[in-house]
């Protein structure tokens, strides 16, 4: 029967691995509830796997399509939105929770009131911070959420907001189980709502070993198309080469953020997928403290950095990324090509530094993210290049890189002078770039890493949300882009593609232009 150690191994493992996928991910999730984060690592692991939203984006044309809500109605003044929920949607059944009822309006109420109502029982659980919702000003926008009947929910807004539906369709607006929450209150384990998650999504959490792996089992009573997979495992492998090695050795079926694209393309057993992503990689200046509280210094540094070199070195050339002039990618309808480009000029940099009275130079801490993301595959190397560039104008750069959770935590506290970071859009509405990155509200929650708060800028992007007229919004956004280019709270570096490598046995779409990955349609033969 089994002859020899290795032959037997691969034969029988074949049955186990026939319908199981191992996905090598680049980092460990901070929590299992996307409401609490903006980090892509957590979104990839949780949003589309464990949960559903009321509405979602249709992958083909980016329009809004039904999910947990089978239809919705918006009043003419754009201030009241009513959702009609789908019936017979079941929550996960696990060894720590057995649902006794299907999804109804109470669950939707619970999920949103937790964020909006400061007195809510679960508001402060796990920290009380909902960065995405805070940065789009959710609590100010929504006047109330009412339960009309078991399967109808109405949102009443304080003002019209053209990005409201897009925000509700994003990966952050997931629906939790109120019944589970009640059980946790009785058991006095309220944090488990975020660490031992229950949702309606196509997968349920079987096991999580911190920093090591996540094991998902299929949700047998899923309301949509059941997945064909028997098991989904996220193998957390922060090392780039480690992920590629596992892919080449057959220990991983799919790999996030692959390197060495030629090696993958040449291998007949592997394929390389890519998608044009809505993202921006940038160098953010902490405008709250010296030296970058001075606009002239920011401009000086901007002139001193050779962005083309960075593009060639870190992004390996034009095929993989475009040079960014503003935070919006050129494919966005609100893009403005008249924004002046900051040219690479050491002389201008020195001149500006002199004007600011800092010709003797100074020392700064440059924080570089430790994980790879589409918008920045190698922040540490980028930091080294910037270090060498700034040395020429007398600025000494200390490069700081910590583990991802610690990094984000301390960044929010403003410990940095400058940071190499980025942003991947959650939905195609341009507001998704402006508000979370540069608004005053976002500066308070710490998501705006530049802590830049400009009243006229904020005013413009706010006004743009009040109207649904595309032309009007476009003009307003152009004005906002000009202000950002003048004040330069951040230096845009590149927009890039998001890549993924997989074994040819894997079928089905996985990558989206924005948002997290989705394993529901993925199968293995």
């Amino acid at each position: 029967m089994c002859s020899g150690l290795f032959a037997c191994n691969s034969e029988n493992k074949a049955s186990l691995s026939a319908n199981s996928i191992i996905y090598c991910s680049e980092g460990a999730p901070e929590t299992f509830n996307p409401q609490l984060v903006t980090s892509g690592v957590t979104i990839d692991a949780t949003s589309k796997q464990l949960y559903n939203q009321l509405i979602t984006f249709n992958a083909k044309n980016n329009s809004i399509s039904p999910s947990l809500a089978k239809s919705w109605h918006v009043t003419r003044d754009n201030k009241k939105i009513t959702f009609y929920l789908r019936k017979n949607v079941n929550f996960h059944q696990t060894d720590f929770f057995i649902p006794t009822r299907a999804l109804n309006a109470d669950d939707v109420l619970f999920s949103f009131n937790r964020i909006l109502d400061k007195e809510h029982l679960f508001h402060e659980v796990s920290g009380g911070r909902y960065p995405f919702f805070q940065s789009v000003g959710f609590s100010d926008l929504i006047q109330s959420v009412e339960r009309i009947n078991d399967y109808t929910i109405r949102f009443t807004l304080n003002r019209a907001d053209s990005s409201f539906l897009a925000n509700l369709a994003s990966d952050f607006s997931v629906i939790l189980s109120q019944e589970y929450a009640e059980q946790l209150v009785k058991q006095n384990q309220m944090e488990n709502i975020d660490f031992q998650p229950i949702g309606t999504g196509p997968f349920k959490l079987k096991e999580y070993r911190a920093g090591s792996f996540i094991r998902y089992n299929p949700h047998e009573q899923y309301w949509g198309d059941n997945t064909t997979l028997k098991q989904l495992v996220f193998d957390i492998t922060p090392s780039n080469t480690g992920r590629l090695t596992k892919l080449l050795a057959g220990e991983c079926d799919i790999v996030a953020y692959p390197i060495a694209h030629e090696t993958i393309s040449k291998n007949p057993k592997l394929t390389l997928n890519d998608v044009t992503a809505f993202n921006i990689g940038y160098l953010g200046f902490n405008t709250a403290k010296f030296p970058f509280d001075n606009k002239v210094v920011r401009k000086a540094v901007a002139h001193a950095i050779d962005r083309k070199a960075i593009l060639d070195t870190v992004y390996f050339g034009d095929a993989k990324a475009e040079a960014a002039t503003t935070i919006l990618p050129p494919s966005s309808w609100a893009y403005d090509k008249t924004i002046p480009v900051i040219d690479y000029s050491i002389d201008k940099a020195k001149q500006l530094l002199g004007k600011a009275g800092l010709s003797d130079g100074f020392t700064i801490d440059l924080w570089a993210m430790p994980v790879q993301r589409a918008y920045n595959p190698d922040a540490v190397t980028m930091a080294k290049l910037i270090q060498a560039d700034l040395k020429k104008i007398g600025i000494t750069v200390n490069i700081i890189s910590l583990n991802w959770q610690e990094f984000l935590r301390r960044l929010a506290l403003g410990e940095h002078h400058a940071v190499l970071l980025g942003w991947s859009a959650d939905h195609p509405d341009p507001d998704n770039f402006f508000t979370p990155l540069l608004s005053c509200a976002s500066a308070e929650t710490g998501n705006n890493r530049t802590f830049w708060c400009d009243k006229s800028f904020d005013d413009i992007i706010y006004r743009s949300l009040l109207t649904t007229d595309i032309k009007e919004r476009k003009d307003l956004y152009h004005q906002a882009l000009h202000i950002a280019a003048e004040e330069l709270p951040l230096l845009p570096i590149a927009h890039s593609k998001r890549f993924q490598a997989r074994s040819i046995k894997i079928k089905g779409p996985l990558l989206n232009a924005f948002g997290g990955i989705d394993f529901n349609g993925v199968s293995k033969n």
Binding site: S239, T241, I259, A309, T313, D378, T381, K384, A388
Partner: protein
């Protein structure tokens, strides 16, 4: 009358000359010694020899393979890394760091270890037993763990790595010195000196040291090869030389991410480390052989 020498004088070469004579016997050892000297030369004159600066980025020549490959370029003999830095220059400068530092590290720990070891050999009783047990404890802590702890206390950086490895090597020298000195103390010639009235320090200096120096040198070469590997390992783990410095272990760590597109960035530093450790070990082997041969003859 002229004092002609009629008798053939027997020349008794000094112990060191005898050592050198036996050392030279084996051709392999001679090669090893030659390589060792070559490395010392590179370490001292690195700035003069290397064609480029080791930290200069040549952004138009990224990831060039070594010159013998089709896409290589003769001006960058061993290729470049992902920031365009010349591999050959980095390897040469790395000799100063990895190899040169190991030499310094061994020297420092030799001196300190010998001093403490001989002083402790002079003490007896509880103090001696305590020191013995203390040494046992230190020797049972893995050297990397000890280095990690010391780097954690002092912080990362080149000089702190140096001190960490010095502190890891000192116990070995103390151990060897102590045992050797105690062994010699029991011998007759020491007894004779004592009877003459010499105090312990004098005995140590004149009688014992010359006789144990060979054991010390033998241990020193072993320690140097261990030190090269330790420095490279700490550099590989990112706990050693700061980022742009071309220490071989750090270069290797930098090359791992490029392994599939530029494997020479991993192979070359590894070969450099292997080469220097083998050279050091050959010299050590030769010395031990020569010592044994001299003792036997």
């Amino acid at each position: 009358m002229a004092r002609d020498n009629i008798y053939q004088e027997e020349e008794f070469p000094s112990p060191l000359m005898q050592l050198w004579f036996h050392f030279r016997q084996s051709p392999v050892v001679k090669i090893g010694f030659g390589c060792f000297l070559f490395l010392c030369f590179l370490a001292i004159f690195s700035s003069l020899i290397s064609p480029y600066s080791p930290v200069e980025n040549h952004l138009d020549s990224l990831l060039l393979p070594p010159a013998w490959d089709d896409e290589g370029n003769v001006s960058y003999l061993l290729g470049t890394d992902n920031l365009g830095r010349d591999m050959l220059s980095r390897l040469i400068h790395g000799t100063t760091l990895t190899f040169g530092l190991s030499f310094i590290v061994v020297l420092i720990s030799l001196v300190i270890g010998v001093v403490i070891g001989s002083l402790s050999a002079l003490t007896k009783g509880v103090k001696s037993s305590f020191l013995n047990h203390f040494l046992d404890v230190i020797l049972s802590i893995p050297s990397l763990l000890l280095a990690i702890v010391i780097v954690a206390i002092l912080g990362p950086g080149l000089s702190n790595t140096l001190w960490a490895i010095v502190m890891v090597l000192i116990p070995q020298f103390i151990h060897i010195t102590r045992n050797a000195v105690e062994e010699e103390f029991n011998k007759d010639y020491v007894l004779a000196s004592r009877l003459d009235g010499a105090n312990s320090l004098r005995i140590l200096h004149y009688s014992i040291f010359p006789n144990i120096i060979e054991k010390l040198i033998s241990q020193a070469t072993l320690a140097q090869s261990a030190a090269i590997l330790d420095i490279a390992t700490l550099g590989f783990l990112g706990l050693g030389a700061p980022i742009p410095m071309p220490e071989w272990g750090a270069m290797l760590a930098n090359g791992i991410d490029l392994f599939y597109i530029a494997p020479w960035t991993v192979y070359l530093p590894g070969l450099a480390i292997l080469f220097s450790v083998v050279a050091t070990n050959l010299v050590g082997e030769g010395m031990r052989h020569a010592l044994k041969a001299r003792k036997e003859s």
